[in-house]
């Protein structure tokens, strides 16, 4: 598990590097497309080449945005898995993430909810995230509201319920 943590770390780094290279290319392609449109002027509509070029450039830009989102999701997941040492835990993590997604938690709320489930106190979470306790309490309340529960214990039993149901082997 420790090994796979490291590999995912270098995967994130590789993806980041790739993104920088693509951004570099995208800047030039966008400028090139603009220059080509200027050159073609009113004739632009008749150049098939320009359409393809524009499409390709836009695809690249969208790909970069998509990769960015993927990279952030990957890093988030990694940050939450940091202390996990077993595959079972990572399976639990997956279920938790699904649930967080269903509840519509923001990235910050997901992070706090993960700490909450791991048993950290409000002040410990504040320390870990470098924010004020009041902020954490506000986040906690919105987590409870979104999950439709009243307190920490209810969040835990909700998750435990999901895990027990999910992990039951299919008959």
């Amino acid at each position: 598990m420790l090994f796979s943590m490291r590999t995912s770390q270098s995967k994130a780094a590789a993806l980041f590097g790739l993104m920088i290279a693509q951004i570099f290319c995208a800047v030039f392609f966008v400028l090139d497309v603009i220059a080509d449109y200027r050159e073609a002027g009113t004739e632009a509509a008749y150049h098939l080449h320009l359409y393809v070029e524009t499409l390709a450039t836009f695809s690249l830009v969208f790909a970069i945005v998509f990769e960015g989102k993927f990279l952030l999701a990957m890093l988030r997941r990694q940050a939450h898995l940091e202390e996990s040492l077993s595959n079972a835990r990572s399976a639990v993590q997956e279920i938790m993430e699904d649930r967080f997604g269903e509840w519509g938690l923001t990235p910050s709320e997901q992070d706090i909810a993960t700490f909450l489930i791991k048993g950290f106190s409000t002040s410990e979470i504040a320390d870990l995230r470098g924010s004020a306790e009041g902020t954490i309490k506000t986040h906690l309340n919105s987590i409870y509201r979104k999950a439709g529960v009243r307190n920490r214990t209810e969040v835990l039993s909700l998750l435990l319920d999901c895990i027990m149901v999910t992990e039951r082997p299919a008959a």
């Binding site: 780094a13 980041f16 800047v27 990694q78 470098g130």
Partner: protein, 177 residues
């Protein structure tokens, strides 16, 4: 709240002189004018000074306080992804990458621009191509730099532009109270 002196006067003077010189050459001055060349020399001088200052300057100005680090950069991205705020007193890892990017790009702009003025490369196409492409990249980088400064100031609640004016970073106490 805690006030920490981070940017020495030389770093700040360098930064804002560069802002003025780059803006002048990229947006205002005529590319073919003599003044464009002189301002170009100033930019090259500023970059050379900053590189030197990176070895002998004050603590946070030195390169060894912000080495290019992919691990550091992914860690900062990870903070962004999870909404955690870790305060960096000096340059952040992503900020450091931007600094190296800008210094290198400006050096390339300066070198290619200089070649365009020499007799040897008179009428040769590639220095001009390199010059224009690297200027485009620098302009994109500057826009990204400004956007990142605004984003990070809001995210970490540390006023970064003000720190570059006054030299003092006002950071929340280590333990979020």
């Amino acid at each position: 709240m805690q006030n920490i002196k981070v940017w020495d006067p030389a770093v700040r003077l360098f930064h804002w002189s560069l802002v003025i010189a780059f803006t002048a050459n990229a947006l205002i001055l005529d590319d073919d004018s003599k003044l464009h060349q002189y301002v170009g020399y100033v930019v090259v001088g500023l970059v050379a000074f900053r590189v030197l200052w990176g070895f002998v300057g004050s603590r946070y100005a030195r390169f060894n306080s912000f080495p290019p680090s992919v691990a550091g950069a992914t860690e900062q991205l990870s903070d962004m992804a999870t909404g955690r705020t870790k305060i960096h007193v000096g340059h952040t890892p992503l900020g450091a990458l931007m600094i190296y990017n800008l210094l290198a790009t400006l050096a390339i702009i300066g070198a290619s621009g200089y070649l365009m003025t020499t007799d040897m490369f008179w009428g040769v196409e590639w220095p001009e191509e390199v010059h224009e492409l690297s200027v485009a990249w620098a302009e994109f980088s500057v826009v990204l730099h400004i956007a990142a400064v605004i984003f990070e100031s809001r995210r970490t609640k540390v006023n970064l532009p003000r720190a570059m004016m006054t030299g003092v970073k006002t950071v929340p106490d280590a333990k979020g109270g």
